[in-house]
């Protein structure tokens, strides 16, 4: 599904990311862990063609992400606030994204209703996105990434700023999507979450993948040992 080949991103003299080969297969649920500055966001940004690789390439369904826009049709993503349009209301924003994927207003309203236990801000809200709390911004961005019914889902720290019930909602939602066949790539600082839901874990350190393993009962302990100082 996603194929990374000899990928490198260098800022000045610092190598932010260097991945020789990585293949994310269809229906995999990959968790990306690593300390701050390990290169998680850089890797996600490269997959989303937001930054230009210094070397190498990323392919999505066999097509280079930097040369074809096809991946945008089936990829849902949310990295940070910059993905929200600040002066729209949440509903207008979702409607805009829905329209891009051929969904009409009724479908978007329906979608919001289905997920109303997650995003509680009312549909008729007069608030603009820029006025939402950090948690609600995060929720809105995540919902917007679900809306196009993507085949690939890429989320940067989706659990941050979320209240406990939203976290557990999101966990089961992601699991369900994955069971329905969605390929998922998330980064997280919460080791319990990732080991609980992900089928494969990538551990990044200083821009390189130092551990690539399928999740089993020992993974959590191993990771905790790595991160303990």
């Amino acid at each position: 599904m996603i194929e990374i080949n000899d990928l490198q991103k260098v800022y000045g003299k610092k190598v932010a990311l260097s991945i020789n080969r990585l293949n994310i297969r269809e229906k995999e649920f990959v968790g990306l862990v690593g300390n701050n500055g390990a290169g998680k966001t850089t890797m996600l940004s490269l997959i989303l063609d937001l930054i230009e690789p210094t070397k190498g390439f990323v392919k999505s369904k066999g097509m280079m992400v930097s040369e074809s826009d096809d991946w945008k049709n089936y990829t849902g993503s949310y990295l940070n606030e910059g993905f929200l349009i600040p002066f729209l209301t949440p509903f207008e924003f979702l409607e805009f994204i829905g329209n891009l994927h051929g969904k009409n207003r009724a479908e978007v309203t329906n979608f919001l209703k289905e997920n109303n236990s997650f995003f509680t801000e009312e549909v008729s809200s007069k608030k603009y996105n820029r006025e939402l709390s950090a948690g609600n911004k995060n929720k809105l961005g995540i919902l917007a990434s679900f809306l196009p019914e993507p085949e690939i889902l890429i989320l940067d720290e989706p659990f941050s700023n979320l209240d406990p019930s939203s976290q557990s909602w999101l966990k089961s939602k992601l699991k369900k999507l994955n069971e329905e066949g969605v390929t998922i790539l998330i980064s997280s600082h919460d080791l319990k979450h990732v080991t609980e839901i992900c089928s494969r874990i990538l551990l990044l350190e200083n821009g390189t993948i130092i551990k690539d393993t399928n999740t089993n009962t020992e993974t959590l302990v191993e990771l905790e040992n790595y991160f303990n100082v």
């Binding site: 945008k72 002066f87 729209l88 509903f91 207008e92 805009f96 891009l100």
Partner: protein, 504 residues
């Protein structure tokens, strides 16, 4: 007893002084990416300011000569004081329009052990060093030293200067109050302007001579020095009113307006699919954000410049007509379009990962540019009443703008990668303005000049407009090809733009 000790014990904590805040303010300015990126622009602005100040200085220094020439036989000091009435009225209006209140973003400090009053006094005191106050002092001081001190007693001089300085201070803080009260009531601003205008009119028409009253009062004050307590008290009063106003507004609160947000306007755009949606977003962006909105208001004011140029004696100056014509038929479009993709800077990443084809994105920009051109053309249409010539010329220049300027603007717009803060006003705001803007305007204005020069060689400059119109029609006819061309350029530049837009 205990309480007192505790309070004393906390004292060192609260004694972070103004100097610290001043340093933070300086760092905020100096470390803003805008300052760091456009040093050249700031130097130019600095030189302009210096030039202005020198003029003011000279004016004040030679004020006595000027007054003797213009108002023969009148007392120089008295006349000068009277003229200051105009100055203070004018000063207040200009301050209201242009003076920005130095606000250190107060939020991070509110929970720190710093006395709140200090945080509030700081911006007030800091505003004392504003450019407008420097101008005021430069207007007063040379005249004061050269004329007033030379001819009057010490108590008179002292009272005169203290009273006038008090007026400057009062104006400074009065502006603060006016801004807070009137900022959201544009009708009242007009009323205020009318009020000031009325006084000046009364004065000129010699119905009620405000300036001579002003002068008489001040001279009386200066002759009875203990009365200077009145202007000093006035200055102090405005300061404290401003202080209390600020205090009332210092709570970090979610100020949600109950205004209905008309989400369903412009629904007809839906019919145009993705491009319609993108144009819709751009319209909402303008309506809901201060910077793009105020920029369009400014454009409306600039359109009035036509009255300055479209005069009988200029109607055969084809170079001028083409210059002004290009501006008149694209005023909104050029002003708004100069930032092109930077308008999306705060959510550019979103656009880059969503299912939006770059071609459609660029095309939506082109269509919106065209709409704005049409709008400027329609608003400036009444100028054709001055001469039918203006009408014909502007039609061909409209074609030129839609068919040529648009593509130039979009093409060079990809070189603008400075983030724009949508929430700031356009007044004296140079964020996002740089070398790109000069790059943009050069070819847009240059092509008409070249065509004019060419036709002038053959002594038929009046035909140059037809050529510009034809160029425009060619551009419109080949718009698909040209759009593809600028889209390719956009794709080439998108990483650089996205990187620039992420820098806050």
């Amino acid at each position: 007893m205990f309480k007192i000790v505790i309070i004393c014990g906390r004292q060192p904590l609260t004694s972070i002084n103004m100097i610290n805040l001043l340093i933070h303010h300086w760092k905020e300015k100096q470390r803003s990416p805008f300052w760091q990126k456009s040093i050249a622009l700031n130097i130019i602005l600095g030189i302009l300011c210096l030039y202005l100040l020198l003029n003011v200085l000279a004016l004040s220094f030679f004020a006595d000569k000027i007054i003797q020439e213009t108002y023969k036989g009148r007392d120089v000091v008295e006349t000068f004081t009277g003229l200051l009435f105009y100055y203070f009225s004018f000063d207040l209006v200009i301050r209201f329009l242009f003076q920005q209140l130095p606000t250190l973003s107060i939020q991070p400090y509110l929970t720190l052990p710093i006395k709140k009053s200090k945080l509030l006094h700081y911006p007030l005191i800091k505003s004392g060093s504003s450019f407008f106050n420097i101008v005021a002092i430069l207007i007063l001081l040379p005249f004061f030293i050269k004329v007033v001190c030379a001819t009057h007693s010490f108590p008179f001089c002292f009272a005169w200067i203290v009273a006038l300085f008090s007026f400057i201070i009062a104006n400074n803080y009065l502006n603060f109050l006016l801004k807070k009260y009137f900022a959201k009531r544009p009708l009242l601003i007009l009323l205020l302007l009318a009020f000031v205008g009325l006084f000046i009119f009364f004065d000129i028409a010699k119905i009620v001579s405000c300036s001579s009253y002003f002068s008489a009062i001040l001279i009386y004050l200066a002759n009875t020095p203990f009365l200077i307590i009145i202007p000093v008290a006035l200055a102090a009063l405005t300061y404290y009113l401003a202080y209390f106003l600020l205090k009332k507004n210092s709570y970090v609160e979610d100020k949600l307006t109950d205004k209905r947000r008309n989400a369903d306007s412009f629904l007809f755009l839906k019919r145009f699919g993705e491009i319609g949606d993108l144009v819709h977003i751009e319209i909402k962006m303008i309506l809901r954000n201060k910077r793009p909105k105020s920029l369009l208001y400014f454009s409306l004011i600039f359109l009035a410049y036509g009255f300055m140029f479209y005069k009988k004696q200029n109607l055969d100056n084809y170079l001028l007509l083409s210059f002004v014509g290009v501006l008149m038929t694209a005023m909104f479009a050029l002003n708004h379009g100069q930032f092109m993709f930077a308008w999306e800077s705060s959510f550019f990443d979103s656009f880059m990962t969503k299912k939006i084809s770059p071609y459609n994105y660029v095309k939506s920009k082109y269509l919106f540019f065209t709409v704005l051109c049409l709008l400027s053309f329609i608003v400036s249409l009444p100028y054709a009443l001055i001469s039918y010539k203006i009408g014909i010329i502007n039609v061909s220049l409209l074609l030129y703008n839609v068919g040529v300027s648009s593509f130039i603007l979009i093409f060079f717009g990809t070189y603008n990668s400075t983030r724009i803060d949508l929430g700031k006003s356009q007044f004296m705001n140079y964020q996002g303005i740089g070398a790109t803007q000069f790059l943009l305007i050069l070819p847009i204005m240059g092509i008409p000049v070249l065509v004019y020069l060419l036709f002038n060689l053959f002594d038929i400059p009046q035909y140059s407009f037809y050529v510009l119109g034809i160029l425009g029609i060619i551009g419109i006819a080949f718009n698909k090809y040209l759009l593809q061309l600028v889209t390719d350029q956009f794709i080439k530049r998108k990483y650089k733009m996205a990187y620039g837009f992420r820098q806050k």
